[in-house]
Symmetry: C2
Subunit: 213 residues, 2 copies
């Protein structure tokens, strides 16, 4: 079948899904495309187009039913299927992610944590196995882990990506410096510094150059 959903629409649909998932109490019985758009920083029209893209059989008159919309997105994007993930790098950031309570509900099981410092592995308490980094490939392969999170220092970023890729992950969330991965692996680079720079540019640095949203 032909692939038809552009990446920005996928990103927005995941944002809407996250909103429906994390804040159902604020949305009431019906939620309009305008409310959804305001919450994720998009126009009502963009939200309507993204939702229409799914060609799902959902009622939009008088707003969407949050549970129905959430179900439609999950079904369209294949989000019901549970996924296995692991974290490489157990510094403050890696530990924060390891202990984040929201994954299980979201159908994502954090199965393992890895760090190159074996002393640290002994000291950390964790409900999931913590293993030395050289075991990433073997363990990811054995446990059929499909998603990896990289939270290691910059000098370990590429070897960590290589180990995850060799183990067969299909996607990586990368919190450190950019790394190279084969085209078969999808990568999402998350950088606080990049986000702050985008905000700085939007705030006043380049008012004359940047398009209004």
């Amino acid at each position: 079948m032909k692939r038809t959903l552009p990446l920005p629409s996928l990103e927005r649909l995941c944002g809407i899904y996250g909103l429906l998932d994390s804040l159902p109490e604020t949305l009431g019985n019906r939620v309009s495309s305008r409310e959804l758009g305001r919450a994720i920083g998009q126009t009502a029209e963009t939200v309507r187009k993204d939702i229409a893209h799914m060609k799902a059989d959902i009622v939009s008159a008088g707003g969407y039913d949050p549970a129905e919309l959430k179900g439609a997105i999950a079904s369209y994007l294949g989000l019901q299927e549970p996924r296995r993930a692991c974290i490489a790098g157990l510094g403050r950031l890696g530990q924060a992610i390891l202990r984040y309570p929201g994954f299980q509900d979201a159908g994502i099981e954090i199965c393992a944590g890895f760090d190159s410092d074996t002393n640290k592995l002994e000291l950390l308490a964790s409900p999931v196995p913590l293993l030395p980094s050289y075991r990433i490939t073997e363990y990811v392969q054995k446990e059929k882990i499909s998603l990896g999170i990289i939270a290691v220092p910059p000098d370990q970023a590429q070897i960590t990506a290589d180990r995850l890729t060799a183990g067969g992950v299909r996607g990586i969330v990368n919190f450190t410096v950019p790394v190279s991965v084969p085209e078969t692996v999808n990568m999402r680079h998350v950088s606080v510094l990049d986000e702050l720079r985008i905000l700085a540019a939007l705030a006043d640095g380049a008012d004359q150059n940047i398009q209004e949203k």
Copy 2:
């Protein structure tokens, strides 16, 4: 003057800038649009268009000079100007950001940290002032802080955004649930869960629906 740079181009230029800034040693004397594209997950053509958008006086034959390109992006986006930022929420994530050594070099000064737990404020060692959350508005205003980072638990997210906004920040990086801010404030929502869902959808859940990059 008219604003002409679309947000996705701004995001990509900040990604390229971050790459040039964090990995200069891997790029050599000249870097091609293809190499830049591969590193940030974009096509060479997209990178060329984004760079051309700046209408900067830079040589592109045989690849770009990394330092020259970095300077051109900084100048176009107003990134040379130093910025003052603060962090609200000093759990593991907030502490990880507070201690991240890369901000200073990037022209971003983390000026303060806030948390509602005053015991925690006393226990944490920090080179910058740590203050109780109810002081956010006053302190942000007094210190002319223009950027805020939200790393608080979900139930404190909205009040934290309100306090930062009342203090006059122009942009917020939000690591928690979506919050509402006035149109004058730019918001960047960062969610590991959203990123994992995007990867899950790209990996195999919706192969038939999603456009190839």
